[in-house]
Symmetry: C2
Subunit: 297 residues, 2 copies
Protein backbone atom coordinates (compact mmCIF):
# COMPACT_ATOMS: atom_id res chain seq x y z
CA UNK A 1 0.00 0.00 0.00
CA UNK A 2 1.24 3.43 -0.99
CA UNK A 3 2.48 5.61 1.87
CA UNK A 4 1.22 9.19 1.90
CA UNK A 5 2.74 11.90 4.05
CA UNK A 6 1.59 15.45 3.45
CA UNK A 7 4.02 18.30 4.05
CA UNK A 8 3.06 21.99 4.22
CA UNK A 9 6.10 24.23 4.71
CA UNK A 10 5.61 27.96 5.20
CA UNK A 11 8.40 30.13 3.85
CA UNK A 12 9.04 33.80 4.58
CA UNK A 13 8.70 35.05 1.02
CA UNK A 14 5.39 36.03 -0.57
CA UNK A 15 6.40 38.97 -2.76
CA UNK A 16 9.32 37.99 -5.00
CA UNK A 17 7.44 35.32 -6.93
CA UNK A 18 10.51 34.33 -8.98
CA UNK A 19 12.20 33.40 -5.71
CA UNK A 20 9.14 31.39 -4.66
CA UNK A 21 9.23 29.53 -8.00
CA UNK A 22 12.88 28.68 -7.55
CA UNK A 23 12.16 27.25 -4.11
CA UNK A 24 9.07 25.35 -5.28
CA UNK A 25 11.16 23.90 -8.14
CA UNK A 26 13.10 21.92 -5.54
CA UNK A 27 9.88 20.12 -4.67
CA UNK A 28 8.97 19.60 -8.33
CA UNK A 29 12.37 18.06 -8.96
CA UNK A 30 12.34 15.60 -6.08
CA UNK A 31 11.44 12.12 -7.27
CA UNK A 32 8.43 10.50 -5.63
CA UNK A 33 6.97 13.81 -4.48
CA UNK A 34 3.83 15.38 -5.90
CA UNK A 35 3.31 19.12 -5.59
CA UNK A 36 -0.38 19.68 -4.82
CA UNK A 37 -0.60 23.40 -4.30
CA UNK A 38 1.29 26.57 -3.42
CA UNK A 39 0.14 30.10 -2.76
CA UNK A 40 1.77 33.36 -1.77
CA UNK A 41 0.39 36.20 0.34
CA UNK A 42 1.80 39.68 -0.22
CA UNK A 43 0.78 41.21 3.11
CA UNK A 44 2.01 38.23 5.08
CA UNK A 45 5.05 38.10 2.77
CA UNK A 46 4.77 34.36 3.13
CA UNK A 47 4.10 31.32 0.92
CA UNK A 48 2.51 27.99 1.79
CA UNK A 49 3.60 24.96 -0.23
CA UNK A 50 1.75 21.61 -0.14
CA UNK A 51 3.16 18.31 -1.37
CA UNK A 52 2.78 14.60 -0.71
CA UNK A 53 4.80 11.43 -1.05
CA UNK A 54 6.44 8.76 1.05
CA UNK A 55 8.07 9.92 4.29
CA UNK A 56 11.55 9.58 2.77
CA UNK A 57 10.63 11.46 -0.41
CA UNK A 58 8.84 14.26 1.43
CA UNK A 59 11.77 14.66 3.85
CA UNK A 60 14.21 14.92 0.93
CA UNK A 61 12.04 17.56 -0.81
CA UNK A 62 11.81 19.52 2.45
CA UNK A 63 15.58 19.46 2.89
CA UNK A 64 16.23 20.71 -0.65
CA UNK A 65 13.55 23.38 -0.28
CA UNK A 66 15.23 24.57 2.93
CA UNK A 67 18.69 24.55 1.38
CA UNK A 68 17.50 26.71 -1.52
CA UNK A 69 15.32 29.01 0.60
CA UNK A 70 18.07 29.97 3.05
CA UNK A 71 20.26 31.05 0.14
CA UNK A 72 17.53 33.32 -1.23
CA UNK A 73 15.75 34.77 1.81
CA UNK A 74 17.41 37.17 4.24
CA UNK A 75 15.49 37.56 7.47
CA UNK A 76 17.37 40.80 8.22
CA UNK A 77 15.38 42.36 5.38
CA UNK A 78 12.08 40.51 5.84
CA UNK A 79 8.87 42.29 6.75
CA UNK A 80 5.40 40.77 6.86
CA UNK A 81 2.20 40.59 8.86
CA UNK A 82 2.48 36.92 9.82
CA UNK A 83 4.62 35.90 12.82
CA UNK A 84 7.83 34.06 11.75
CA UNK A 85 11.27 33.18 13.04
CA UNK A 86 13.05 32.02 9.92
CA UNK A 87 13.41 31.91 6.14
CA UNK A 88 11.77 28.51 6.25
CA UNK A 89 9.44 29.18 9.12
CA UNK A 90 7.77 25.85 9.74
CA UNK A 91 7.78 22.35 8.19
CA UNK A 92 4.95 20.08 9.42
CA UNK A 93 4.77 16.38 8.47
CA UNK A 94 1.18 15.09 8.34
CA UNK A 95 0.26 11.38 8.23
CA UNK A 96 -2.39 10.66 5.58
CA UNK A 97 -2.28 7.00 4.55
CA UNK A 98 -0.33 3.90 5.54
CA UNK A 99 1.94 5.81 7.87
CA UNK A 100 1.72 6.36 11.62
CA UNK A 101 2.11 9.60 13.53
CA UNK A 102 5.10 7.98 15.27
CA UNK A 103 6.80 7.51 11.90
CA UNK A 104 6.13 11.15 10.99
CA UNK A 105 7.56 12.26 14.35
CA UNK A 106 10.67 10.19 13.68
CA UNK A 107 10.95 11.62 10.15
CA UNK A 108 10.57 15.19 11.44
CA UNK A 109 13.31 14.70 14.06
CA UNK A 110 15.69 13.23 11.47
CA UNK A 111 15.03 16.12 9.10
CA UNK A 112 15.61 18.62 11.92
CA UNK A 113 18.91 16.97 12.78
CA UNK A 114 19.99 17.00 9.13
CA UNK A 115 19.04 20.66 8.60
CA UNK A 116 21.28 21.72 11.45
CA UNK A 117 24.08 19.30 10.58
CA UNK A 118 24.31 20.21 6.89
CA UNK A 119 22.92 23.75 6.73
CA UNK A 120 23.89 25.12 10.18
CA UNK A 121 20.39 26.51 10.76
CA UNK A 122 19.16 25.80 14.30
CA UNK A 123 15.96 23.75 14.56
CA UNK A 124 13.03 23.66 16.97
CA UNK A 125 10.75 20.61 17.13
CA UNK A 126 7.02 21.22 17.57
CA UNK A 127 3.64 19.49 17.57
CA UNK A 128 3.74 15.75 18.08
CA UNK A 129 7.50 15.85 17.45
CA UNK A 130 8.11 18.28 20.34
CA UNK A 131 10.64 17.09 22.96
CA UNK A 132 8.76 18.86 25.76
CA UNK A 133 5.05 19.71 26.19
CA UNK A 134 5.77 23.45 26.12
CA UNK A 135 7.09 23.09 22.55
CA UNK A 136 3.94 21.44 21.18
CA UNK A 137 2.46 24.85 20.50
CA UNK A 138 3.98 26.64 17.51
CA UNK A 139 3.05 30.13 18.69
CA UNK A 140 5.00 29.66 21.90
CA UNK A 141 8.14 28.77 19.95
CA UNK A 142 7.61 31.82 17.73
CA UNK A 143 7.16 34.25 20.63
CA UNK A 144 9.11 37.49 19.94
CA UNK A 145 9.51 36.44 16.31
CA UNK A 146 12.82 36.54 14.42
CA UNK A 147 13.84 39.89 15.84
CA UNK A 148 13.07 39.04 19.46
CA UNK A 149 14.38 35.48 19.29
CA UNK A 150 17.84 36.67 18.23
CA UNK A 151 18.45 37.53 21.88
CA UNK A 152 15.87 35.29 23.61
CA UNK A 153 17.35 32.17 21.97
CA UNK A 154 19.93 32.16 24.76
CA UNK A 155 17.28 32.07 27.52
CA UNK A 156 16.58 28.89 29.43
CA UNK A 157 13.66 27.14 27.74
CA UNK A 158 14.09 28.97 24.42
CA UNK A 159 17.17 27.13 23.14
CA UNK A 160 16.87 25.13 19.89
CA UNK A 161 16.45 21.36 19.88
CA UNK A 162 19.26 21.06 17.34
CA UNK A 163 22.09 23.59 17.22
CA UNK A 164 23.63 26.19 19.57
CA UNK A 165 21.64 29.00 21.26
CA UNK A 166 22.22 31.34 18.34
CA UNK A 167 20.12 32.03 15.23
CA UNK A 168 21.52 31.68 11.72
CA UNK A 169 22.62 35.23 10.69
CA UNK A 170 20.22 35.43 7.72
CA UNK A 171 17.94 32.34 7.91
CA UNK A 172 16.96 32.52 11.58
CA UNK A 173 15.66 29.13 12.72
CA UNK A 174 13.38 26.41 11.33
CA UNK A 175 10.52 24.78 13.22
CA UNK A 176 10.06 21.16 12.16
CA UNK A 177 7.33 18.89 13.46
CA UNK A 178 4.43 16.55 12.95
CA UNK A 179 0.71 17.08 13.33
CA UNK A 180 -2.62 15.66 12.26
CA UNK A 181 -4.29 17.13 9.17
CA UNK A 182 -6.36 20.15 9.95
CA UNK A 183 -9.97 20.10 8.77
CA UNK A 184 -11.71 23.44 8.25
CA UNK A 185 -15.40 22.74 8.84
CA UNK A 186 -18.14 25.39 8.91
CA UNK A 187 -21.75 24.90 9.96
CA UNK A 188 -24.35 27.35 8.66
CA UNK A 189 -27.35 28.04 10.87
CA UNK A 190 -30.88 29.07 9.93
CA UNK A 191 -30.77 32.33 11.82
CA UNK A 192 -29.11 35.74 11.54
CA UNK A 193 -28.61 35.90 15.28
CA UNK A 194 -24.84 35.97 15.73
CA UNK A 195 -25.19 35.33 19.45
CA UNK A 196 -26.48 31.80 18.70
CA UNK A 197 -23.35 31.00 16.63
CA UNK A 198 -21.10 32.47 19.33
CA UNK A 199 -22.78 30.43 22.06
CA UNK A 200 -22.52 27.22 20.06
CA UNK A 201 -18.85 27.95 19.24
CA UNK A 202 -18.18 28.35 22.96
CA UNK A 203 -20.00 25.10 23.70
CA UNK A 204 -18.02 22.94 21.28
CA UNK A 205 -14.48 24.37 21.36
CA UNK A 206 -11.71 23.11 23.59
CA UNK A 207 -10.73 26.48 25.03
CA UNK A 208 -14.08 26.95 26.75
CA UNK A 209 -14.80 23.39 27.85
CA UNK A 210 -15.99 21.66 24.66
CA UNK A 211 -14.29 19.08 22.49
CA UNK A 212 -10.54 18.65 22.56
CA UNK A 213 -8.79 19.49 19.24
CA UNK A 214 -11.59 21.88 18.23
CA UNK A 215 -11.23 25.60 17.64
CA UNK A 216 -14.49 27.45 16.90
CA UNK A 217 -15.88 30.93 16.50
CA UNK A 218 -19.13 32.56 15.44
CA UNK A 219 -19.19 34.34 12.08
CA UNK A 220 -21.87 36.48 10.38
CA UNK A 221 -22.66 35.61 6.74
CA UNK A 222 -24.11 38.93 5.60
CA UNK A 223 -25.10 37.85 2.09
CA UNK A 224 -26.89 34.72 3.22
CA UNK A 225 -28.53 36.42 6.19
CA UNK A 226 -27.24 33.57 8.33
CA UNK A 227 -24.62 32.93 10.95
CA UNK A 228 -21.95 30.25 10.97
CA UNK A 229 -19.99 28.24 13.47
CA UNK A 230 -16.53 28.26 11.86
CA UNK A 231 -14.28 25.49 13.13
CA UNK A 232 -10.86 23.94 12.83
CA UNK A 233 -10.79 20.25 13.73
CA UNK A 234 -7.18 19.51 14.61
CA UNK A 235 -7.47 15.75 15.05
CA UNK A 236 -10.25 14.14 13.03
CA UNK A 237 -9.45 10.69 14.41
CA UNK A 238 -9.93 11.58 18.07
CA UNK A 239 -12.55 14.29 17.56
CA UNK A 240 -14.36 13.35 14.36
CA UNK A 241 -16.42 15.65 12.14
CA UNK A 242 -19.69 13.78 12.77
CA UNK A 243 -19.47 13.97 16.55
CA UNK A 244 -18.81 17.70 16.52
CA UNK A 245 -21.59 18.26 13.96
CA UNK A 246 -24.09 16.25 16.01
CA UNK A 247 -23.28 18.39 19.06
CA UNK A 248 -23.68 21.59 17.01
CA UNK A 249 -27.07 20.30 15.76
CA UNK A 250 -28.12 19.55 19.34
CA UNK A 251 -27.00 22.94 20.64
CA UNK A 252 -28.70 24.72 17.74
CA UNK A 253 -31.94 22.84 18.43
CA UNK A 254 -31.80 24.19 21.99
CA UNK A 255 -32.26 27.65 20.43
CA UNK A 256 -34.88 26.38 18.01
CA UNK A 257 -32.42 26.79 15.16
CA UNK A 258 -31.61 24.26 12.42
CA UNK A 259 -28.38 23.49 10.60
CA UNK A 260 -29.04 24.50 7.00
CA UNK A 261 -25.78 23.32 5.51
CA UNK A 262 -22.08 22.76 6.13
CA UNK A 263 -18.80 23.34 4.30
CA UNK A 264 -15.48 21.59 4.20
CA UNK A 265 -12.87 24.14 3.15
CA UNK A 266 -9.85 22.92 1.19
CA UNK A 267 -8.48 19.39 1.19
CA UNK A 268 -9.77 16.65 3.44
CA UNK A 269 -8.37 13.13 3.86
CA UNK A 270 -10.63 10.44 2.37
CA UNK A 271 -10.66 8.65 5.73
CA UNK A 272 -12.40 11.56 7.49
CA UNK A 273 -15.36 11.21 5.10
CA UNK A 274 -15.39 7.43 5.23
CA UNK A 275 -15.40 7.62 9.04
CA UNK A 276 -18.53 9.79 8.81
CA UNK A 277 -20.22 7.38 6.37
CA UNK A 278 -19.34 4.45 8.65
CA UNK A 279 -20.78 6.15 11.69
CA UNK A 280 -24.03 7.39 10.15
CA UNK A 281 -24.60 4.12 8.27
CA UNK A 282 -23.84 2.15 11.49
CA UNK A 283 -21.41 -0.05 9.54
CA UNK A 284 -20.05 -3.07 11.40
CA UNK A 285 -16.51 -4.29 10.69
CA UNK A 286 -15.97 -2.21 7.58
CA UNK A 287 -12.43 -2.30 6.23
CA UNK A 288 -10.71 0.34 4.04
CA UNK A 289 -9.78 -2.63 1.84
CA UNK A 290 -13.43 -2.75 0.79
CA UNK A 291 -13.16 0.61 -0.93
CA UNK A 292 -12.59 -0.39 -4.53
CA UNK A 293 -10.22 2.49 -5.23
CA UNK A 294 -8.01 1.47 -2.32
CA UNK A 295 -7.36 -1.84 -4.04
CA UNK A 296 -5.77 -0.16 -7.01
CA UNK A 297 -2.01 0.05 -7.37
CA UNK B 1 -7.77 11.95 -13.90
CA UNK B 2 -7.37 8.20 -14.07
CA UNK B 3 -10.26 6.36 -15.72
CA UNK B 4 -11.52 3.29 -13.90
CA UNK B 5 -13.81 0.73 -15.49
CA UNK B 6 -14.47 -2.46 -13.59
CA UNK B 7 -15.11 -5.67 -15.52
CA UNK B 8 -16.45 -8.90 -14.01
CA UNK B 9 -16.68 -11.69 -16.61
CA UNK B 10 -18.22 -15.01 -15.62
CA UNK B 11 -16.75 -18.02 -17.43
CA UNK B 12 -18.21 -21.54 -17.59
CA UNK B 13 -15.31 -23.31 -15.91
CA UNK B 14 -14.95 -23.74 -12.16
CA UNK B 15 -13.41 -27.20 -11.88
CA UNK B 16 -10.29 -27.40 -14.06
CA UNK B 17 -8.32 -24.77 -12.18
CA UNK B 18 -5.35 -24.97 -14.56
CA UNK B 19 -7.70 -23.90 -17.34
CA UNK B 20 -8.98 -21.03 -15.18
CA UNK B 21 -5.38 -19.92 -14.53
CA UNK B 22 -4.60 -19.92 -18.24
CA UNK B 23 -7.64 -17.74 -18.92
CA UNK B 24 -6.88 -15.38 -16.01
CA UNK B 25 -3.30 -15.08 -17.31
CA UNK B 26 -4.70 -13.19 -20.29
CA UNK B 27 -5.91 -10.51 -17.88
CA UNK B 28 -2.61 -10.49 -15.97
CA UNK B 29 -0.72 -9.99 -19.23
CA UNK B 30 -2.80 -7.10 -20.55
CA UNK B 31 -1.05 -3.82 -19.96
CA UNK B 32 -2.96 -1.20 -17.99
CA UNK B 33 -5.26 -3.74 -16.39
CA UNK B 34 -5.18 -4.72 -12.74
CA UNK B 35 -6.57 -8.09 -11.67
CA UNK B 36 -8.40 -7.53 -8.37
CA UNK B 37 -9.89 -10.94 -7.66
CA UNK B 38 -11.01 -14.24 -9.12
CA UNK B 39 -12.81 -17.21 -7.63
CA UNK B 40 -14.11 -20.53 -8.88
CA UNK B 41 -17.18 -22.47 -7.75
CA UNK B 42 -17.17 -26.24 -8.26
CA UNK B 43 -20.93 -26.79 -8.10
CA UNK B 44 -21.68 -23.90 -10.40
CA UNK B 45 -18.68 -24.97 -12.54
CA UNK B 46 -18.13 -21.27 -13.04
CA UNK B 47 -15.50 -18.63 -12.25
CA UNK B 48 -15.87 -14.93 -11.65
CA UNK B 49 -12.93 -12.68 -12.57
CA UNK B 50 -12.66 -9.04 -11.48
CA UNK B 51 -10.31 -6.48 -12.99
CA UNK B 52 -10.06 -2.75 -13.54
CA UNK B 53 -8.41 -0.31 -15.89
CA UNK B 54 -9.24 2.21 -18.58
CA UNK B 55 -12.11 1.31 -20.90
CA UNK B 56 -9.68 0.48 -23.71
CA UNK B 57 -7.45 -1.68 -21.52
CA UNK B 58 -10.37 -3.53 -19.92
CA UNK B 59 -11.93 -4.20 -23.35
CA UNK B 60 -8.63 -5.59 -24.64
CA UNK B 61 -8.25 -7.89 -21.60
CA UNK B 62 -11.85 -9.08 -22.07
CA UNK B 63 -11.24 -9.87 -25.72
CA UNK B 64 -8.09 -11.88 -24.98
CA UNK B 65 -9.84 -13.69 -22.12
CA UNK B 66 -12.68 -14.63 -24.49
CA UNK B 67 -10.30 -15.76 -27.21
CA UNK B 68 -8.48 -18.07 -24.82
CA UNK B 69 -11.61 -19.32 -23.03
CA UNK B 70 -13.41 -20.43 -26.20
CA UNK B 71 -10.37 -22.55 -27.11
CA UNK B 72 -10.41 -24.31 -23.73
CA UNK B 73 -14.08 -24.65 -22.78
CA UNK B 74 -16.50 -26.90 -24.65
CA UNK B 75 -20.14 -26.16 -23.83
CA UNK B 76 -21.14 -29.56 -25.21
CA UNK B 77 -19.43 -31.08 -22.16
CA UNK B 78 -20.29 -28.43 -19.60
CA UNK B 79 -22.44 -29.16 -16.58
CA UNK B 80 -23.08 -26.82 -13.66
CA UNK B 81 -25.74 -25.49 -11.33
CA UNK B 82 -25.62 -21.89 -12.57
CA UNK B 83 -27.59 -20.86 -15.69
CA UNK B 84 -25.27 -20.13 -18.66
CA UNK B 85 -25.33 -19.90 -22.45
CA UNK B 86 -21.64 -19.80 -23.33
CA UNK B 87 -18.01 -20.54 -22.50
CA UNK B 88 -17.69 -16.87 -21.61
CA UNK B 89 -21.15 -16.38 -20.22
CA UNK B 90 -21.32 -12.68 -19.45
CA UNK B 91 -18.98 -9.65 -19.59
CA UNK B 92 -20.29 -6.56 -17.77
CA UNK B 93 -18.53 -3.18 -17.96
CA UNK B 94 -19.04 -1.09 -14.81
CA UNK B 95 -18.22 2.65 -14.61
CA UNK B 96 -16.29 3.50 -11.43
CA UNK B 97 -14.35 6.74 -11.91
CA UNK B 98 -13.96 9.38 -14.60
CA UNK B 99 -16.01 7.43 -17.12
CA UNK B 100 -19.70 7.67 -17.97
CA UNK B 101 -22.22 4.88 -18.34
CA UNK B 102 -22.62 5.98 -21.96
CA UNK B 103 -18.91 5.38 -22.59
CA UNK B 104 -19.17 1.92 -21.00
CA UNK B 105 -22.19 1.13 -23.18
CA UNK B 106 -20.20 2.18 -26.24
CA UNK B 107 -17.23 0.08 -25.13
CA UNK B 108 -19.43 -2.96 -24.55
CA UNK B 109 -21.01 -2.68 -27.99
CA UNK B 110 -17.60 -2.37 -29.65
CA UNK B 111 -16.30 -5.39 -27.76
CA UNK B 112 -19.39 -7.40 -28.76
CA UNK B 113 -18.90 -6.48 -32.39
CA UNK B 114 -15.22 -7.46 -32.24
CA UNK B 115 -15.92 -10.80 -30.53
CA UNK B 116 -18.26 -11.83 -33.30
CA UNK B 117 -16.08 -10.40 -36.09
CA UNK B 118 -12.82 -12.00 -34.95
CA UNK B 119 -13.93 -15.06 -32.99
CA UNK B 120 -17.24 -15.94 -34.72
CA UNK B 121 -19.05 -16.26 -31.40
CA UNK B 122 -22.51 -14.61 -31.50
CA UNK B 123 -23.07 -11.83 -28.97
CA UNK B 124 -26.08 -10.54 -27.02
CA UNK B 125 -26.04 -7.06 -25.53
CA UNK B 126 -27.61 -6.62 -22.05
CA UNK B 127 -28.08 -4.14 -19.23
CA UNK B 128 -27.57 -0.51 -20.17
CA UNK B 129 -26.01 -1.67 -23.46
CA UNK B 130 -29.16 -3.57 -24.51
CA UNK B 131 -30.61 -2.59 -27.89
CA UNK B 132 -34.19 -3.26 -26.71
CA UNK B 133 -35.76 -3.07 -23.24
CA UNK B 134 -36.45 -6.82 -23.21
CA UNK B 135 -32.70 -7.49 -23.38
CA UNK B 136 -31.85 -5.39 -20.31
CA UNK B 137 -32.50 -8.39 -18.08
CA UNK B 138 -29.76 -11.02 -18.24
CA UNK B 139 -32.00 -13.89 -17.12
CA UNK B 140 -34.34 -13.33 -20.05
CA UNK B 141 -31.45 -13.63 -22.50
CA UNK B 142 -30.30 -16.83 -20.75
CA UNK B 143 -33.76 -18.48 -20.82
CA UNK B 144 -33.43 -22.15 -21.86
CA UNK B 145 -29.68 -21.95 -21.24
CA UNK B 146 -27.04 -23.20 -23.71
CA UNK B 147 -28.94 -26.38 -24.50
CA UNK B 148 -32.30 -24.71 -25.10
CA UNK B 149 -30.89 -21.68 -26.89
CA UNK B 150 -29.28 -23.86 -29.58
CA UNK B 151 -32.73 -24.15 -31.13
CA UNK B 152 -34.45 -21.05 -29.69
CA UNK B 153 -31.75 -18.78 -31.12
CA UNK B 154 -33.66 -18.88 -34.42
CA UNK B 155 -36.89 -17.63 -32.83
CA UNK B 156 -38.03 -14.10 -33.36
CA UNK B 157 -36.82 -12.00 -30.45
CA UNK B 158 -34.07 -14.45 -29.43
CA UNK B 159 -31.58 -13.75 -32.20
CA UNK B 160 -28.14 -12.36 -31.25
CA UNK B 161 -27.28 -8.67 -31.56
CA UNK B 162 -24.09 -9.57 -33.42
CA UNK B 163 -23.89 -12.72 -35.56
CA UNK B 164 -26.31 -15.10 -37.26
CA UNK B 165 -29.10 -16.97 -35.45
CA UNK B 166 -26.85 -19.88 -34.63
CA UNK B 167 -24.69 -20.62 -31.56
CA UNK B 168 -20.97 -21.26 -31.83
CA UNK B 169 -20.64 -25.10 -31.86
CA UNK B 170 -18.56 -25.26 -28.66
CA UNK B 171 -18.54 -21.74 -27.19
CA UNK B 172 -22.28 -20.95 -27.39
CA UNK B 173 -22.82 -17.21 -27.16
CA UNK B 174 -21.45 -14.32 -25.08
CA UNK B 175 -23.54 -11.71 -23.30
CA UNK B 176 -21.75 -8.35 -23.19
CA UNK B 177 -23.13 -5.27 -21.46
CA UNK B 178 -22.82 -2.41 -19.02
CA UNK B 179 -24.32 -1.91 -15.60
CA UNK B 180 -23.83 0.09 -12.44
CA UNK B 181 -21.80 -1.45 -9.61
CA UNK B 182 -23.89 -3.61 -7.34
CA UNK B 183 -23.73 -2.84 -3.63
CA UNK B 184 -24.59 -5.64 -1.21
CA UNK B 185 -25.93 -3.91 1.90
CA UNK B 186 -27.42 -5.68 4.93
CA UNK B 187 -29.23 -4.08 7.85
CA UNK B 188 -29.35 -5.96 11.16
CA UNK B 189 -32.40 -5.42 13.37
CA UNK B 190 -32.72 -5.63 17.16
CA UNK B 191 -35.31 -8.41 17.08
CA UNK B 192 -35.47 -12.13 16.29
CA UNK B 193 -38.87 -11.69 14.65
CA UNK B 194 -38.31 -12.65 11.03
CA UNK B 195 -41.69 -11.23 10.02
CA UNK B 196 -40.41 -7.72 10.78
CA UNK B 197 -37.46 -8.16 8.38
CA UNK B 198 -39.74 -9.63 5.71
CA UNK B 199 -42.19 -6.72 6.02
CA UNK B 200 -39.43 -4.14 5.77
CA UNK B 201 -37.89 -5.94 2.79
CA UNK B 202 -41.26 -5.79 1.04
CA UNK B 203 -41.59 -2.10 1.88
CA UNK B 204 -38.24 -1.03 0.41
CA UNK B 205 -37.76 -3.28 -2.64
CA UNK B 206 -38.77 -2.39 -6.17
CA UNK B 207 -40.73 -5.57 -6.88
CA UNK B 208 -43.34 -4.82 -4.24
CA UNK B 209 -43.60 -1.07 -4.59
CA UNK B 210 -40.51 0.27 -2.81
CA UNK B 211 -37.37 1.87 -4.20
CA UNK B 212 -36.32 1.31 -7.77
CA UNK B 213 -33.00 -0.57 -8.20
CA UNK B 214 -33.41 -2.31 -4.81
CA UNK B 215 -33.74 -6.04 -4.22
CA UNK B 216 -34.42 -7.09 -0.62
CA UNK B 217 -35.35 -10.08 1.50
CA UNK B 218 -35.62 -10.97 5.16
CA UNK B 219 -32.97 -13.29 6.63
CA UNK B 220 -32.67 -14.93 10.08
CA UNK B 221 -29.26 -14.59 11.79
CA UNK B 222 -29.45 -17.59 14.15
CA UNK B 223 -26.19 -16.94 15.99
CA UNK B 224 -26.91 -13.30 16.67
CA UNK B 225 -30.54 -13.92 17.58
CA UNK B 226 -31.43 -11.17 15.13
CA UNK B 227 -33.02 -10.75 11.75
CA UNK B 228 -31.62 -8.90 8.75
CA UNK B 229 -32.89 -7.02 5.75
CA UNK B 230 -30.48 -8.26 3.08
CA UNK B 231 -30.34 -5.99 0.02
CA UNK B 232 -28.74 -5.47 -3.36
CA UNK B 233 -28.59 -1.83 -4.43
CA UNK B 234 -28.26 -1.90 -8.19
CA UNK B 235 -27.79 1.81 -8.79
CA UNK B 236 -26.24 3.68 -5.87
CA UNK B 237 -26.39 7.00 -7.71
CA UNK B 238 -30.15 6.98 -8.27
CA UNK B 239 -31.08 5.00 -5.16
CA UNK B 240 -28.33 5.76 -2.65
CA UNK B 241 -27.44 3.72 0.44
CA UNK B 242 -28.42 6.46 2.89
CA UNK B 243 -31.92 6.93 1.51
CA UNK B 244 -32.68 3.22 1.65
CA UNK B 245 -31.19 2.94 5.14
CA UNK B 246 -33.24 5.88 6.41
CA UNK B 247 -36.42 4.22 5.11
CA UNK B 248 -35.44 0.91 6.75
CA UNK B 249 -34.84 2.78 10.04
CA UNK B 250 -38.24 4.45 9.74
CA UNK B 251 -40.05 1.21 8.92
CA UNK B 252 -38.27 -0.59 11.77
CA UNK B 253 -39.29 2.16 14.19
CA UNK B 254 -42.90 1.53 13.21
CA UNK B 255 -42.46 -1.94 14.78
CA UNK B 256 -40.59 -0.50 17.76
CA UNK B 257 -37.40 -2.08 16.46
CA UNK B 258 -33.99 -0.42 16.11
CA UNK B 259 -31.25 -0.87 13.54
CA UNK B 260 -28.33 -2.36 15.51
CA UNK B 261 -25.79 -2.38 12.70
CA UNK B 262 -25.24 -2.69 8.98
CA UNK B 263 -22.80 -4.45 6.65
CA UNK B 264 -21.36 -3.69 3.25
CA UNK B 265 -20.35 -6.98 1.63
CA UNK B 266 -17.40 -7.00 -0.78
CA UNK B 267 -16.13 -4.02 -2.70
CA UNK B 268 -17.83 -0.64 -2.76
CA UNK B 269 -16.94 2.42 -4.86
CA UNK B 270 -15.49 5.27 -2.81
CA UNK B 271 -18.13 7.60 -4.19
CA UNK B 272 -20.99 5.63 -2.59
CA UNK B 273 -19.46 6.28 0.86
CA UNK B 274 -18.61 9.89 0.12
CA UNK B 275 -22.20 10.45 -1.04
CA UNK B 276 -23.39 9.17 2.34
CA UNK B 277 -20.96 11.41 4.22
CA UNK B 278 -22.07 14.41 2.13
CA UNK B 279 -25.74 13.75 2.82
CA UNK B 280 -25.47 13.13 6.56
CA UNK B 281 -23.04 16.01 7.06
CA UNK B 282 -25.30 18.30 4.94
CA UNK B 283 -22.28 19.40 2.92
CA UNK B 284 -22.86 22.25 0.47
CA UNK B 285 -20.94 22.34 -2.82
CA UNK B 286 -18.47 19.63 -1.92
CA UNK B 287 -16.22 18.53 -4.79
CA UNK B 288 -14.45 15.18 -5.17
CA UNK B 289 -11.37 17.32 -5.90
CA UNK B 290 -11.34 18.16 -2.21
CA UNK B 291 -10.56 14.60 -1.26
CA UNK B 292 -6.80 14.72 -0.83
CA UNK B 293 -6.28 11.22 -2.26
CA UNK B 294 -8.14 12.18 -5.44
CA UNK B 295 -5.50 14.82 -6.11
CA UNK B 296 -2.78 12.23 -6.34
CA UNK B 297 -1.50 11.01 -9.67
Amino acid sequence: MRQIVQCVPNISEGRRLDVVEEIVDQVRQTEGVQLLDYSSDYDHNRSVITYVGSLTAVAEASFRLTQTAIGLINMEEHQGAHPRIGAVDVIPFIPIENVTMEECVQGARELGKRIFAELAVPVYLYGEAAATPSRRNLSRIRRGQYEGLKKAVQDKGRQPDFGPPQLHPTAGAVVVGARMPLIAFNVNLGTDNREVADQIARAVRESSGGFKHVKAMGVTLEERGEVQVSMNLENYKLTPIYRVLEMVRREAARYGVAVVGTELVGLVPQQALIDAAEWYLQLESFSPEQVLENRLR
